[in-house]
Each structure stands twice: as structure tokens, then as C-alpha cells.
């Protein structure tokens, strides 16, 4: 059984501080709480993403985030392969939780990192993941202030699992969510969809691309803040469509808000090779995961402006207005096809297995 997925053989940047020839892989002792654990935490993890608070190595982080409300989110990351074009499980873990916090309308401030490592996981890979965490956290302007590391027996974990929990600060008066979605609201998406899911699947399926498909994994806090700043109360809700794709996000919000939603297939932004991959794998891009996109629900008379804000941002290339919120039926999402017919966009059942026959 493969413990680590394929990736470039050598890590970029500084060499792994733990001597690889002595400790080429994670052992049970590294999770035992004794000397080796200590070495792992101090010499590898702190070296990669340490800061004053984390280095205290207290049982918990002591935070002063100012007065006001907080947003709090948690997520676990079990992606395989661990390394993929444009990212890895580490950067994904940071972006994922930063984004959840940002979608609430909060400014992400701090993260925790919980690692579950499988005995035998290559030390070199852990170092790469840790560096990747560092880079993503810096880019998002968040500090990693507490964490935990456990090791499980060989065969009991898929190399590495990561849990991240994040806290963000909400400005006074910010009120985003399904409850604010109104009939007539414009539905916008910040860019081409399905890139992440296809990037992962393509590794698994041995697809090559003339221009390689990369994950779109990115931190959305900045683009989300820009939207909030410009639109104020006319920004009603945001959601990042991760597992289950745009379809799942829209279905959930339609249900929670008690509204209907109608989108148009011809308006969905799709990069051509991603589209080609979906065709040959028999996948509907609406259901494929994204990791660096947001869906915004905006008061109808401000849709133009919202689109400008998105399109003007580095992460908003290809942003589009894809549809609008309707009165109902509650929970129903429909799509007009490219030839003009209509269909319902249902909740996904199970995993979308690639259609072949």
C-alpha cells in the first residue's frame, strides 16, 4: 500500500532539518510524547511554521482578538494523492479553513493544525507539507497558534490526515448567510469551476493535459473582504463550493434559505481542458470540487458592481453571473441547458463515479 503519493523527488527550499538518513520515516515513537515527539515538533514543525505563540508550546493558545464577535470553523483534510499540481494537503488544509471563516464575513486570524500521521510516512514529505502550510498561512495572514500530532500504526491511516480549526474576527454589523438570501438576488461565481476535482482525478486516472490542470486551491479572504467593503449590506451570502461542487452548495443554500435558484449552463465558466476531462470521464462539472472559488449572493441592483470587483481581483479571473434566486419552490435548483431546455440540479447521491459505459 502506498503511504506517500508521488510528487517531485526533491523538496524546494531549505532541506529537512531532521536528518533524513537517521529518520527517513515517521515512527510510532514520533507520536509517543517523548524525545522523538519533541524533536519532531521542535525541529520540524516549529521550524516550518512556528511563531512566538506556537513556540510557547502551551496546552492551549492564549489569544487577544479584540472585542466583537468571532467566527469559528473546523475542517479535516484527507485528500489523496497528497501532492498534486498547484498544491498539496498542507496548503489545502490552510486554504480550506481560512475560506470557511472568510465566507462567514470574518477576517481569519489564527489556525490550529492537528496532524495524524501513519507510521512509515516519509519525513521528507512531512517537511514539504509543513513548508506548504507555512507559505499558505503567511499568504492568508494567519498564525498557527496551536496544534497536535499523533501517529497511528502502519495500515491505519492514509499517510497523513490534517485537521485545521480557524478563528476569525467579525466586523460590527456584518451579517451574511442563507437567511439574508432574497428572491431576485444575483448568483455570481468567482471563476472557472471544477479545476480542483479534475486536477486530483487526472492524477488518479493518468490523464495528461497539453497545459496541466492545477488545483485552484487558494485563500479567498482578500477577495471576500473586497466584496464586503464595496457592497456592504447588499452582499447577502457567500459560500465556497468544495466537495460536491457548485450544485451541492446551491442545493444546501436553497434548502436553508427556503428559496429556489435558477442558473444557466451557458454562463458557467469552464476552462476548456477541464471541460474536455469532464466529457471523457462522464462527469458533470457542477458536481466537481473547487477549492479556490466563491459563490456570492448579491442584491440584484448591485450585481454589475459585484462582478467588477470579482473580475478585478487576481483570484476572480473569469468571474461570471450565473443565475438568480427565485421565489421557489423552496430548495429547488434548476438549470437552463445550452439548447434551451430545463432540468433540475439535484443533490449529489454518493460519490460521482466516472462514467464509462
Amino acid at each position: 500500500m502506498t503511504i506517500s503519493s508521488a510528487g517531485p523527488a526533491l523538496s524546494q527550499g531549505p532541506a529537512c532539518p531532521i536528518p533524513i538518513d537517521r529518520y527517513p520515516t515517521i515512527t510510532l515513537a514520533h507520536g509517543g510524547g517523548g524525545r522523538l515527539s519533541d524533536i519532531l515538533v521542535r525541529e520540524l514543525l516549529l521550524e516550518a511554521y512556528g511563531n512566538d505563540e506556537l513556540e510557547r508550546l502551551g496546552d492551549g493558545a492564549l489569544l487577544d482578538l479584540g472585542p466583537g464577535r468571532l467566527a469559528f470553523s473546523t475542517d479535516s483534510f484527507v485528500v489523496y494523492p497528497h501532492f498534486f499540481p498547484g498544491g498539496d494537503i498542507g496548503s489545502l488544509a490552510v486554504h480550506g479553513t481560512v475560506n470557511d471563516v472568510a465566507m462567514c464575513g470574518a477576517t481569519p486570524k489564527v489556525l490550529s493544525i492537528g496532524l495524524i500521521l501513519e507510521e512509515g510516512f516519509p519525513m521528507e514529505d512531512l517537511w514539504r507539507v509543513a513548508q506548504s502550510i507555512r507559505a499558505a498561512a503567511d499568504e492568508a495572514g494567519v498564525r498557527i497558534v496551536t496544534g497536535d500530532t499523533k501517529v497511528v500504526d502502519r495500515g491505519k491511516g492514509d499517510g497523513i490526515f490534517i485537521n485545521t480549526t480557524g478563528i476569525g474576527v467579525l466586523d460590527e454589523g456584518v451579517d451574511l448567510g442563507a437567511h439574508r438570501i432574497e428572491a431576485g438576488d444575483a448568483i455570481l461565481v468567482s471563476g472557472p469551476i471544477a479545476n480542483h476535482g479534475i486536477a486530483i482525478l487526472s492524477l488518479r486516472e493518468g490523464l495528461e493535459f497539453e497545459t496541466p490542470i492545477e488545483t485552484d486551491s487558494a485563500s479567498l479572504h482578500d477577495i471576500a473582504t473586497r466584496l464586503r467593503d464595496v457592497l456592504g449590506g447588499d452582499l447577502h451570502a457567500m459560500r465556497d463550493p468544495t466537495r460536491g461542487g457548485v450544485a451541492s452548495a446551491l442545493n444546501e443554500l436553497a434548502r436553508t434559505s427556503g428559496r429556489g435558484m435558477h442558473i444557466e449552463e451557458s454562463r458557467l465558466p469552464l476552462d476548456p481542458p477541464v471541460r474536455g476531462a469532464c466529457e471523457i470521464l462522464g462527469l458533470d462539472p457542477l458536481y466537481v470540487a473547487n477549492e479556490g472559488k466563491l459563490i456570492a449572493f448579491v442584491a440584484e441592483d448591485r450585481a454589475d458592481e459585484a462582478l467588477e470587483v470579482l473580475a478585478g481581483h487576481l483570484l476572480g479571473r473569469g468571474a461570471a453571473l450565473i443565475g438568480r434566486v427565485t421565489e421557489g419552490p423552496a430548495g429547488r435548483v434548476t438549470q437552463k441547458s445550452t439548447i434551451g431546455g430545463s432540468r433540475v440540479v439535484e443533490m449529489l447521491s454518493g460519490e460521482q463515479l466516472p462514467r464509462i459505459c
Binding site: 471563476g191 472557472p192 487526472s202 493518468g206 490523464l207 495528461e208 493535459f209 497539453e210 497545459t211 435558477h262 444557466e264 449552463e265 451557458s266 454562463r267 458557467l268 465558466p269 469552464l270 476552462d271 476548456p272 481542458p273 471541460r275 474536455g276 476531462a277 466529457e279 471523457i280 462522464g282 462539472p285 440584484e300 450585481a303 454589475d304 462582478l307 470579482l310 473580475a311 479571473r317 473569469g318 468571474a319 461570471a320 453571473l321 443565475g323 438568480r324 434548476t334 437552463k336 441547458s337 445550452t338 434551451g340 431546455g341 430545463s342 462514467r355 464509462i356 459505459c357
Partner: protein, 123 residues
């Protein structure tokens, strides 16, 4: 039955197990495909691929058939038939953002997709 997707042959090579293989591109995605059933196919030609096998060549001449057929039908451009789920008129087309990637599915303008539809095709 089953999923058969058209793609463009990019190259042809014999394989380690002695079966003619090749690379076929589907809009930029390249996959290895068995070409045993389209002998003498050349790079640049299009084939229909099913479960990793090219099962048929695409005849470019015949591919235009649908569009010639449409041309030969009476011209009905002036008649607008409202369809279910008709595009919401309050979503103006100018909302497509500049530099957007290709939208999913066809655009309804003439000459889209690289084929040669009838020259009097109007959106």
C-alpha cells in the same frame, strides 16, 4: 451504447504489447487510446473513443450533414418559440465578465466550435 467521445489524434505509436496505440486530445486533455480499430489513422484526424479504444473515424464531410439539413429546411428564423426555462430577460448578456474562460457548452453564434455550420445561421 455507452460513452463515445470525439477526439483528435495527436500521435500514433506501436505499444509494448504490440497493439497500435496513440494519443488523442479531447479539447486539450490528452489520453492514450488503442488505435487498432482505425488502421492507418493519421495525426489530425478525429475519432470516436469508447473505453480507451477508437471505434470509428469521424467523417468531416458527413459531420456537416446536420447543418446542411438545417439549411434545406424552410427558413424559420423569424419565429421565436418560447421554450420552458427560457432565459431570464433581466440577466443581460453584458454580464459575461471580460476575459471569461469558455462557457460550458456551445455559444449560439455562427461558426462556434470549429465546424462549418451553414453560413446563414443566425443566433
Amino acid at each position: 451504447m455507452c460513452l463515445g467521445v470525439p477526439g483528435r489524434v495527436v500521435d500514433v505509436q506501436p505499444s509494448p504489447i504490440g497493439v497500435p496505440m496513440g494519443k488523442v486530445s479531447f479539447g486539450g486533455v490528452v489520453k492514450e487510446v488503442c488505435l487498432a480499430y482505425v488502421p492507418d489513422v493519421e495525426p489530425g484526424e478525429y475519432v470516436v473513443v469508447h473505453v480507451g479504444f477508437a471505434i470509428s473515424r469521424i467523417d468531416e464531410e458527413e459531420a456537416d450533414e446536420v447543418f446542411r439539413f438545417l439549411e434545406s429546411m424552410d427558413e424559420l428564423d423569424e419565429i421565436h418559440i418560447p421554450q420552458p426555462g427560457e432565459s431570464d430577460p433581466s440577466l443581460p448578456d453584458r454580464f459575461a465578465s471580460p476575459g471569461a474562460a469558455t462557457a460550458g457548452g456551445a455559444s449560439s453564434g455562427p461558426g462556434s466550435g470549429g465546424a462549418e455550420p451553414s453560413t446563414d445561421d443566425t443566433a
